[in-house]
Amino acid sequence: MHKLPVKVGGLELSSPGMLASGILDENGYTMKRILDEGAGAVVTKSIGMEERNGYMPPVVFEGKNWLLNAMGLPNPGIDHFEDEIVIAKQSGKPVIGSIFGSSVDDFLVLGQKMESFGVSAVELNLSCPHVRGYGSEVGSDPVLVKNIVKELKGTLSIPVWSKLSPNVTSILDIARSASDSDALVLINTLRGMAINIYNRMPVLTNVYGGVSGSSIKPVGLRLVYEVRKEMDIDIIGVGGIDNHEDALEYIMAGANAFQIGTALMHHGRKIFNEINVGIGEFMAHNGVSDLSKLVGRAVQ
């Protein structure tokens, strides 16, 4: 496995590419395998207080260069998730616990339990676009965001990352309210939908879902850039990364590290190592010895 050490959001990773939350991270064995095959860290599926089955399939729909999903935050509930983290941690690499809730108290309990399970950091899902009462409904309220982050930072001893929604008029308003976080994770999916014209119905059972994949890269890059231009905080870029060039675009827009989700569908687990190799070659060709030298380089 190609190494490319980075420091980000209070952690040291052996490479900058992490598995994004919600993709192949429900089963501990899957996460372990992805870590073994080159991811620098994995973020777990977002875990809540109670067990949820999520929405009835269809929960995904594939378009040209985009994927639409409305899983509906299926999760076993925090009290059933410890085993998976224990299995994943056998890889020896960091596991980041993603959590979602509807109140400061929810997030606090979830964060404390995650910490006790041994995760290296928690990632607050303030941005899932398709579940009422959670995700972006929480994440578009600056005061609530500020209180959640403050409370967790005051209580936990592990780093706290905040994952924000692109479906907002001003990302800076929310980013500033989450500025106590050790890192901002940008972006979650764009809210979207698809219709089957033959039976005249929305394709997803939930009607609305989140758009991911290479179609959203220009939007993700823009949000990372907008935040990097104004704030001195670690940023983890996510959204449409499909190869090392995409990853480098995010880094030059201001991301210190990055996450990958949808691209696993076409490239499989090997994408993490391939991207590490590609970035390594780019650095060698361009005389760059330290990846952090490229962070935000394109910001004007």
Binding site: I23, L24, D25, E26, N27, Y29, T30, K32, R33, I34, K45, E51, R52, N53, G54, M56, P57, P58, V59, V60, F61, E62, G63, L67, N69, M71, P74, N75, P76, G77, H80, F81, D83, E84, N196, Y198, N199, M201, V203, T205, G261, T262, L264, M265, G268
Partner: protein
């Protein structure tokens, strides 16, 4: 990317199983599956029980979605995406096709002169595809003894020389697969198993189908005997729709 395809024929196989025939201009191999959308009810994985120019799915009515599928008629539409998954390997020579319940669906397209069927069911009327095998090449076990050997599939396995086959293909519920696997694992035979796990996406993203880090929808559904030897989740634990780990 979802195709809408007209049903050319609907054939009732048993009181609870229906085969739906259609033409679909795609290359499909035995062992692969499709995701079938039943608008308003759900989306379910289904093996292709015929994989030539004419294609077929063979559906057993379990819940609401599959019950609805079983009611479809000629002229109705199927909404499909796929095909997905790794097919069975294509082996020349003597084949044993072992299936339980609707598991026979994924084996059907491999039935030929060289293949022997070993089919288990609860009762005689649930046995699938008997007529498609050569007369002497069909063994059956029913739990109620209404046909063939009284017992389960592993009872029937004792009646045949497993080592005489060039390849053994197995498909059915995971508990059955595990029982067959335990019989075969120390024998000098080649075997492939088609697994069924909860499948929400079918395209290797949601992790609902995973077993020991492999995605059944992508790395499977077919796995070889040797691959399964390294999977300690096999036949032991799985995740529910919520992702909660339970014993099988």
């Amino acid at each position: 990317m979802m195709d809408r395809i007209i049903i050319e024929e609907a054939h009732r196989e048993t009181p609870t199983v229906v085969s739906l025939y259609f033409t679909w201009n795609l290359d499909v191999k035995p062992g692969q599956f499709v995701m079938v959308w039943i608008p308003g009810l759900g989306e379910v994985p289904m093996s292709l029980s015929m994989t030539g120019h004419k294609k077929c799915i063979t559906v057993k009515a379990y819940g609401e979605s599959t019950r609805k599928l079983c009611e479809l008629k000629k002229g109705d539409f199927l909404y499909l995406r796929g095909p997905y998954g790794k097919p069975f390997s294509n082996v020349k020579g003597k084949k044993l096709l072992m299936g339980g319940g609707s598991g026979m669906a994924s084996l059907r397209s491999m039935i030929d002169d060289q293949s022997t069927g070993l089919v288990a069911a609860k009762t005689a009327e649930e046995i699938l595809f008997e007529k498609e095998f050569k007369e002497k090449q069909f063994i059956t076990a029913t739990e109620d003894g209404s046909k063939g050997i009284k017992g389960i599939i592993t009872d029937a396995m004792q009646k045949i020389d497993l080592s005489s086959f060039d390849m053994i293909y197995v498909c059915g519920p995971e508990r059955m697969l595990k029982a067959v696997f335990d019989r075969l694992k120390d024998m000098n035979v080649r075997a492939e198993f088609s697994l069924e796990r909860s499948m929400k996406c079918g395209i290797g993203l949601c992790d609902s189908c995973s077993i020991n880090g492999f995605q059944v929808c992508l790395d499977g559904p077919t796995f070889s005997l040797d691959e399964l030897k390294y999977m300690d989740e096999f036949g032991r634990t799985k995740l529910l729709a919520s992702g909660r780990r339970v014993m099988i």
